[in-house]
């Protein structure tokens, strides 16, 4: 087991290194750097000025050296500001340039760099944004997992029954509705004073005709209320429910045809108790893996939903960083994303072994 874990951790590290290097390479392509220089200094710089700006800010060193600097295994670049004569460098604090600076300052030393879009340390940006997204994900999981499991179990309990057909159709429809579609439909139906449900309710004399939910979740950053948070949570959850429900259904139908279930039924155990006591436990092993592997996939939904509802979390930050070619913030975001992906994979593998004693890791 220990050997397995060590090998997995080694692979994870290699994957993370390769991945961040690819991101580093792609964000540091010459056209991207020129764009960065123009947005950072002045849009009307001449080619020569761009070149000298890039040189002054340490962007002209060889790519591998600079990747090493970011990692913290190569000493940070140093230089002197051409105008003011003050020392500059990766590790130099721009507000106190003359203070002694450490030699290495990379992600190994806990220095994630500075965001050029938000002009703040990457680590603090990511910290706060992830908190916001974590809350969103938490609610998504609270809504998504139980409802998906219930739908899957009810559908798989009696294969081919009317309930199975109905619920399966629902889950297929849910997997066909990506976040940008369900989000748009939900906003149009529930949070517009002109069309959809609110005017209909007013017509029936039930409501006042004001929107039921807010179409933007910006205010949820300060305090979460039902009407500003329900739609984004529902939008993400809807797309995932179908997939997990279908996997649960498949696993449930397989278990329900097993010999021991038939034996239990023939012994005269009630259907209800067969499902709850005998089938459920084995039927939930496969969905566990699916749910764990679903978490990184939720990340995409989070990016789309946060953009659509203007909720300033991790996904929104990722989009801003990508649009502004914010190298160090993007690297930070990809580190986080990779860690999430690989950790959930590891947890799903290890958890699977614990849940299913027939499988042994050699």
């Amino acid at each position: 087991m220990l050997k397995f874990l060590l090998r997995r951790l080694g692979t994870m590290l290699a994957t993370a290194l390769c991945l961040t290097f690819i991101v580093f390479y792609l964000t540091n392509l010459q056209p991207n750097l020129v764009k960065l220089a123009k947005t950072q200094a002045s849009a009307r710089m001449s080619d020569a000025q761009v070149k000298s700006w890039l040189h002054d800010n340490g962007y002209t060193d060889p790519l591998l050296t600079r990747y090493g600097e970011w990692l913290g295994v190569v000493p940070g670049w140093t230089g002197v500001n051409a105008e003011s004569g003050k020392p500059m460098g990766r590790c130099v604090n721009p507000n106190a340039p003359n203070a002694p600076a450490p030699r290495y300052c990379g992600i190994v030393q806990g220095n994630w760099g500075t965001s050029t879009v938000f002009r703040a340390p990457v680590i603090s940006i990511i910290g706060t944004r992830i908190g916001a997204t974590g809350l969103l994900m938490l609610w998504v999981l609270i809504i998504m997992v139980p409802s998906a499991l219930v739908i899957g179990i009810l559908a798989g309990m009696r294969e081919g029954s009317r309930m199975d057909r109905g619920l399966s159709a629902l889950s297929i429809a849910s997997t066909a509705t990506p976040e940008y579609v369900s989000g748009v439909i939900l906003i149009a139906l529930l949070s517009s004073p002109m069309i959809g449900l609110p005017p209909l309710l007013k017509h029936w004399g039930v409501g006042t005709g004001s929107p039921l939910f807010k179409g933007s979740a910006t205010s949820a950053l300060d305090h979460i209320t039902f009407d500003n948070f329900a739609l984004p949570v529902l939008t993400i959850a809807l797309y995932g429910i179908g997939y997990i429900a279908r996997m649960t259904r498949a696993s449930m139908t397989e278990v329900m045809t097993a010999q021991y279930i038939r034996t239990a039924r023939l012994k005269g155990v009630s259907f209800r108790s067969v499902v709850l006591k005998h089938a459920l436990r084995n039927a939930l092993i496969a969905p566990f893996t699916v749910i764990m592997l679903q978490i990184p996939w939720l990340l995409n939904g989070v990016v789309i939903t946060e953009t659509l509802f203007n909720y300033k979390g991790f996904g929104w930050t990722l989009v801003q960083a990508a649009q502004g070619n914010d190298i160090e913030l993007l690297l930070g975001c990809s580190v986080v994303a990779v860690v999430v992906v690989l950790l959930t994979q590891l947890i799903s593998d290890v958890g699977y072994v614990y849940l299913n004693p027939r499988i042994r890791i050699s």
């Binding site: 692979t11 290699a14 994957t15 390769c18 991945l19 690819i22 991101v23 792609l26 964000t27 392509l29 010459q30 056209p31 991207n32 764009k35 399966s168 159709a169 297929i172 429809a173 997997t175 066909a176 509705t177 990506p178 940008y180 579609v181 989000g183 748009v184 439909i185 906003i187 149009a188 949070s191 517009s192 004073p193 002109m194 069309i195 959809g196 929107p211 179409g215 990184p296 990340l299 995409n300 990016v303 789309i304 953009t307 659509l308 996904g315 990722l318 989009v319 990508a322 649009q323 070619n325 993007l330 975001c333 990809s334 994303a337 990779v338 992906v341 690989l342």
Partner: protein, 407 residues
Amino acid sequence: MKALSWGEILARMGIQFLPVWICLALMFSVSFVFKRRLGLYGKLFDSPVGMVGFFIVMFWTFTAIFADLTVATPSIPFLNLPSHLLFHIHIATHDALSQIVQMKDKLPGTALPAGTSEYPYYLLGGDHLARDVFSRMVMGARRVLVIAPAATCFAYMVGITLGLPAGYVGGRVDTALSFLANLVLAFPVILLFYLLVTPAIQESGITTILAAVLFLFPIVFVAILFNSRYFTNPMKRNLYVGLTLVIGFWAYSGLAFNADPIGVFSMGANTLNVFVAVVFVNSPTVFRIVRGIVFDIKSRDYVAAAQTRGEGRWYIMLWEILPNARGPLIVDFCLRIGYTTILLGTLGFFGLGVSPESPDWGSTINAGSKLLSIFPHPALVPAIALMSLVLGLNLLADGLREESLRD
């Protein structure tokens, strides 16, 4: 003129889709009569779910074909014949780009201002740039239905060509390829899109390199396919492999480098960018599926029989294992076209790799989502279109799965 009621709008849309209905009726009646002789395709008509899915998918396919179809007699060189318009089918009522200023953000069924010679109504209203939402939805179908199936095909070629040896040979090949596949899969898709589908990447030539690598796989696949099959018959082998290479590299030069000497094959820079990104994202998953199936199949008796006969590795992989893996692969193919449609929509939603006036569904949804609570129709129409297409593909996959499990 008065605005149309919803009943009239639906009726008029039904009339616009007339060519689609005719083709669907023909196709379904012919398939229904001969369904016993049509293999898996015929069996699809035994399952109501599969039939509904197939109906929706074919609806959008015919819509894409007839969106704006003009067929003229081809002009024959040296014979100075006037080129005749043979027929002219337009589902789209207006041009997808033309603007009629008075129609900005108008509700569905609004009549055009008097004095215009075009179709007198905007059936599904106007968008924020005063274009016809209905026509844009119809034209958007064409873009999706060209790129999504083609990109899925390419992803399959890549995934199969790499997944077969990874699963069959195993060992180091498998370790290396799986590491690469997991690497791509560990990327958040949207980050990858932002990195790959930018003008800067296009300038640096990375798209071209990626295209050059990815587009090579179909040629390699087909060439190995023929080579392993007709290895014992050199004449036939040379003919087939030669033809594959000639046609393949001809298309290759046009698609990847835009350097087709005759100019038959070409792809716009934006389209190429999107295409490559989508193939790149999809192939690792296909690779993993193929690898998993091969692991399962390679211990079967018929594989052992082929091994004892002394067949080559590629023959066993391509002609013994692959045909027996077709069931799950066909089902996944349908699902994957749907997923690719969603990915294309995502790209459009973030405005990546599309020109601002492109009628594709993703960017129309994005453009419409800004004024969603006041004018919902410009975003809702493409959203529902996209959803119905993906739903159709998923239902079709479900029907196919059910029918292929039955035998």
